[in-house]
Symmetry: C2
Subunit: 112 residues, 2 copies
């Protein structure tokens, strides 16, 4: 089964939360410290770092310590992979519609 | 915060499972009965219908009874919405790289 791609489970799980999507969006603009990332959210720091952990487990971000500050950065590869999943589905879907069109055209030709 | 789109939570949650992604892929080829859909999976029917319920809650499929058979069909709108989320992120990301390019070009001009 081509969809048994386990990495996608973690990616979509990570994306199923508005805080985590907002963090990714922010990191799309460039790397940021955990402190700066957490600022817009009315959330205790342990809850926030738990969200970052889910993003790291999904392979969507990476982080490193720079002195006493932890800096996060986006990892676009898994995001692209998830986006590709949609493209694949759409290709299937459109292929089906094309075949349907061809079939109807064929029926019309036979009718005339 | 533009990412506080609660519908996306349910969509991505629904996609975070290989059985549910496989069902969507199958439905991309056309409507199917619950029985036909469940066939490739080594899973008790109640577990399988629970997966269908999550897909319905995410707005990704709809189902209707035709006689004694329940037929499922894909609803592409929410899938497109989720796909658009990725496009938006990529646009932000590429915008950032373009600005970076422009900045570097500017620095280089000043250098010469």
């Amino acid at each position: 089964m081509p969809n048994q791609d386990l990495a996608l489970n973690d990616v979509f799980h990570a994306l199923a939360d508005p805080t985590r999507r907002a963090v990714l969006q922010r990191l799309g603009e460039g790397p940021a410290s955990v402190k700066d990332l957490s600022e817009p959210f009315d959330m205790a720091l342990p809850s926030f770092t738990q969200h970052l952990r889910v993003l790291e487990e999904g392979g969507l971000i990476k982080s490193k310590k720079v002195g006493r500050v932890r800096i996060c950065e986006i990892k676009p590869k898994q995001l692209s992979k998830a986006e590709r999943w949609f493209e694949d589905q759409r290709a299937l879907w459109e292929g089906r519609l094309d075949r349907l069109d061809a079939y109807i055209e064929d029926l019309e030709k036979k009718g005339t």
